[in-house]
């Protein structure tokens, strides 16, 4: 649990605090000739140490050292030990008690914070699950219903009607598949980021594969693509980033009412490649901005809502982008319409022999 880094930090903090306290005391004794402050300042030091470090032990170590320091430097006989005096033993006891109690208190506080964070995470997960099961049930209802109708009335429904029902089933199944892909990505990323398989991906290839896929699903929607010149290679999980861009483009198709143009832009700034998906549709209403990425409010507000993959899609996007150590930003364009963007670090472009 306590990593090496933590232990070293704790040791340094303990030594640093005690040294400072010692110097302050020396200064006070030299300049004001008073020793009434000495034990109080040492108690403060012990308190700081047990508050800032992990567990009890550093506080106890600090209190023992403090007792020895006070005994050695600030009580008669000066610069020598006299450990058996009752003064020394009682001050040791007080410091020990301060250290233990502070340690116990801060440990409990830290545990509570951890529990709170855990509960928050659990709540988010619950929200997502609720939204998901709602969104999964809608197409499933339609698939199940359509199948039952066809099976039970196989001879009585006209063929065209049957074909239409079957086509609906196909569309719903495709929609379900996209949904499940999104969920799969979240679980893959959620599990401590380990499943991210980063490859050096050529920007042009990523965008090409994405546009081909997008056209297959939405042949009527044109996308204006603008890419930087030259060979750009970015370390990323190409399947997940493709999915993010696909979700953002799909969101525009489904939710940007009155959209005439859809842009996919990639711009280079220093060592960053900034991806942005823009549309000139209705934009994002201010009151929804806050809950845009949680995937929750959507389905609660609009109970009978038709397909709103949006909330879940966006929370998936944010999770994926965060796993790539970046942040997904949403906003409205001054000319109207929404813009979603994120930036990924590029690979250094050194010379490659042909």
């Amino acid at each position: 649990m306590a990593s090496k880094k933590h232990i070293i930090a704790d040791i340094l903090f303990t030594i640093g605090t005690l040294f400072t306290v010692f110097l302050v005391n020396l200064f006070l004794v030299e300049h004001f000739g008073t020793k009434t402050m000495t034990p109080m300042i040492f108690v403060l030091g012990v308190f700081l140490v047990s508050w800032q470090t992990q567990g009890y032990h550093w506080g106890i170590v600090a209190s023992v050292i403090s007792v020895l320091l006070v005994n050695w430097a600030f009580t008669y006989p000066y610069w020598a030990f006299d450990l058996m005096s009752p003064e020394c033993i009682s001050s040791a006891a007080v410091m020990m008690i301060v250290a233990t109690m502070t340690g116990a208190l801060t440990t409990r506080l830290k545990q509570q914070e951890k529990l709170k964070a855990e509960a928050e995470k659990e709540r988010m997960r619950g929200n997502l699950l609720r939204a998901v099961s709602h969104d999964l049930r809608t197409p499933l209802t339609s698939i199940y219903g359509s199948c039952s109708v066809i099976i039970e009335n196989f001879d009585s429904i006209p063929r065209e009607r049957q074909l239409r029902l079957l086509k609906d089933i196909q569309t719903d199944a495709q929609w379900l598949n996209r949904m499940v892909e999104n969920l799969l990505s979240v679980t893959r990323v959620d599990a401590d980021k380990v499943r991210l398989s980063k490859h050096g991906t050529v920007l042009e290839e990523l965008i090409d594969a994405l546009i081909v896929k997008f056209r297959k699903h939405y042949p009527n929607q044109k996308v204006d693509v603008s890419l930087p010149e030259g060979f750009v290679r970015i370390p990323m999980d190409p399947v997940l980033i493709e999915q993010v861009l696909m979700n953002l483009l799909e969101n525009a198709v489904f939710h940007a009412e009155g959209m005439k143009h859809l842009w996919l832009k990639v711009e280079l700034q220093d060592n960053l490649a900034r991806f942005s998906v823009e549309d000139d549709g209705c934009g994002i209403p201010q009151d929804r901005m806050q809950h845009l990425f949680t995937g929750l409010l959507e389905s609660e507000n609009t109970v009978d809502s038709t397909r709103n993959n949006m909330g879940i899609g966006l929370s998936v996007c944010r999770t994926i982008i965060r796993a790539h150590d970046s942040e997904l930003k949403a906003g409205n364009r001054p000319q109207g319409g929404a813009v979603f963007s994120f930036a990924l670090e590029m690979e250094e472009n050194e010379y490659v022999e042909q």
Partner: protein, 235 residues
């Protein structure tokens, strides 16, 4: 029963998926054999000698990769791997082991039939003519192997030797996805850390010289994280 139908072996443990594939293939004039287990599949390979195998990677008794390894010891029969999206890494290693192609579940009828036809065709070509055609055509792209010349819409394209080798390697395996490592081994022989990048840079140059625009890349399909494929227009 006519006997000149192609025989396809489907190794898939899920009953409904297997029966769906069987229906699609049988209505399109293929003869279908099914196996639920790898062991059973390997036995049927020797007893029925099919023309093509559709292999599910997640089988209960044995790793699908083991099936490919065993089969490749004795036969060059085309193998198409059926993979779910969560098995991307397995997909690449299956291709590297010698599988010819893959289809991601869920797939449609058209996609399945196109891949089956492409795999059967390339295999037949390899068997019938050991000497490849001297000219390859894909839409307005023409590759002349003898003169080592490439042209697009009648305009000659000047490629470097490496670029030409990569393009003709892809064209000789048209319709089939070639993984990065397979291409690298064919072009440069050995593979090292910088190889994939070297290949990507060369591909970028080829695309530029052929005049490909993102989204309208007609000659080379990018299979993200896997490799490249030259599309087959004969479907």
């Amino acid at each position: 029963m006519s006997n000149n139908k192609y025989k396809v072996l489907v190794v898939e443990d899920d009953q409904s998926v297997a029966s769906m594939i069987q229906t699609i293939l049988e209505t399109n004039g293929y003869q279908v054999l099914t196996a639920q287990r790898c062991q059973q599949g390997i036995l049927m390979m020797t007893s029925h000698v099919p023309d093509l195998v559709l292999l599910d990677l997640g089988l209960p008794d044995m790793d699908g990769e083991e099936f490919i390894r065993v089969t490749r010891c004795s036969s060059a029969i085309p193998i198409i791997v059926l993979s779910a999206r969560s098995e991307e890494a397995d997909k690449v290693s299956a291709l590297d082991l010698g599988a010819n192609d893959y289809i991601t579940k869920p797939f449609g009828t058209a996609e399945l039939l196109a891949r089956v036809r492409a795999s059967l065709r390339t295999n037949r070509m390899n068997v019938l003519s050991s000497v490849p055609n001297s000219v390859f055509e894909l839409d307005d792209l023409i590759i002349d192997y003898d003169r080592r010349q490439v042209s697009v819409a009648g305009r000659v394209v000047h490629l470097t030797q490496t670029e030409f080798n990569i393009l003709s390697f892809l064209s000789q395996h048209v319709g089939k996805v070639m993984t990065y490592s397979v291409i690298i081994r064919a072009i440069w022989g050995a593979m090292d850390d910088g190889s994939v990048k070297k290949l990507q840079v060369n591909m970028a140059n080829i695309r530029k010289k052929l005049g490909c625009i993102p989204g309208e890349n007609r000659y080379i399909i990018n299979e993200l994280g896997v490799g490249y494929r030259m599309p087959d227009r004969n479907d």
